[in-house]
């Protein structure tokens, strides 16, 4: 790993400031992708802005019929959360299938979606459930958030704060994991809820997307 300046801001505002101030800053959320990349010396950011000290970014609540999940909430927390399990069990199941137990104890929803790995689970979860990504600047519907392979609508100094999920009538997530990496070879989230029937697929392309011809005539 190349060395870097480490920042541990206490608020999102400070984090954004640190990010703007850095010549080549990088946000550290759970670090389960970023740290291995740094270890392999495949990136050399000047500054690491660690969101681990911002308590406001953690936690899950139900609000206005939505499930609201802080960006720094770990996969294990989502997987084990009673509210998520009751309201969107498919989302809990999705979180429970990411990586392995230790990765789930560190990896976060915000980190996962900001990274937007083409084989990650959460992007399909967000698109398939019609979620909204909230940042320090604006609200972005999931459909507009994931742009391409590792590309999101996030601007340079934009930080994901919260993700809100409308509660569907029913939903399910199924994935075929790569036997080695356990990333999704393909993962599909299907939901039926306030936004109609939604289908999203991860792994089978550069980003999570609805399939070209959703079966049974379902569409957005």
């Amino acid at each position: 790993m190349y060395d870097f300046n480490h920042h541990r801001p206490a608020s999102v505002e400070d984090a954004a400031k640190a990010l703007t101030g850095a010549s080549d800053g990088k946000i550290l959320a759970g670090g389960q992708t970023l740290i291995p990349t740094l270890k392999q010396r495949l990136a050399s950011p000047s500054d690491i802005i660690d969101l681990g000290g911002i308590a406001a970014l953690k936690g899950i609540k139900e609000e206005g019929g939505n499930i609201v999940i802080g960006a720094m909430t770990t996969h294990a927390t989502v997987a084990g959360d009673a509210t998520v399990k009751a309201k969107i069990p498919a989302l809990a199941a999705l979180a429970d299938g990411i990586g392995d137990a230790q990765v789930r104890n560190r990896g976060t929803i915000g980190g996962s979606i900001a990274n937007n790995d083409p084989a990650a689970d959460y992007p399909a979860g967000l698109v398939g459930l019609g979620a909204t990504v909230h940042t320090n600047k604006r609200d972005i519907p999931a459909d507009d958030f994931f742009l391409g392979m590792f590309e999101t609508a996030l601007e340079e100094d934009e930080i994901v704060t919260v993700v809100t999920f409308p509660v569907p009538e029913k939903a399910a997530y199924a994935k075929f994991a790569n036997p080695a990496s356990r990333y999704a070879i393909v993962g599909v989230m299907v939901s039926s809820g306030p936004a109609g029937v939604r289908v999203a697929v991860t792994g089978a392309g550069p980003r999570a997307l609805p399939p070209r011809r959703p079966r049974g005539g379902a569409g957005r």
Partner: protein, 155 residues
């Protein structure tokens, strides 16, 4: 150079580290706690699993600065007063280890499993161990050991 303070195996420790210093490096190099091992560089093998604030994590995929202020338990901190933890004892009893290299991470991971699920069935144990690779045992006796520990920890 950032300074970090944490409690490791019940002992308060402080050290100067670089931002890039991994938790596992801090444990092995600064604290000479060499029971935690490094077996891969892509966060999959689990030889480096320790507990941070009670939860199992891969200490090779966490910066030392991220553990600032945390309670860390390593394999060295599991046995109390020379008495093996029931999980360690169960591994010994069931021949759940051979070369011993993956063992510290395996044991720490297994302890976390029983914290979360005190009564796991074989399938749940095997699934939980997805983040720990053992090349020696074929996992058969590791699974048995965890079942034994679960039984003995229930009391």
């Amino acid at each position: 150079m950032p300074s970090v303070s944490m409690t490791v195996n019940g002992r308060a420790v402080t050290g100067d580290v670089e931002g890039r210093t991994l938790l596992v490096q801090f444990l092995r190099e600064n604290l000479s706690l060499t029971g935690t091992h490094v077996g891969c560089d892509t966060s999959q093998c689990g030889a480096c699993v320790v507990h941070v604030n009670g939860e199992s994590v891969k200490s090779c995929t966490m910066l030392a600065v991220q553990a600032d202020g945390a309670e860390v338990t390593t394999i060295e901190g599991l046995a109390k007063d020379g008495e093996l933890h029931p999980m360690q004892e169960a591994f010994r009893e069931n021949h759940g280890l051979q070369c011993g290299f993956c063992t510290p991470g395996m044991v720490m991971s297994a302890v976390d499993l029983l914290q979360k699920n005190p009564n796991p069935d074989e399938g749940e144990i095997r699934e939980w161990l997805e983040g720990n690779i053992c090349r020696c045992t074929g996992y058969h006796n590791i699974v048995k050991a965890i079942q034994t520990a679960a039984a003995s920890m229930k009391g």
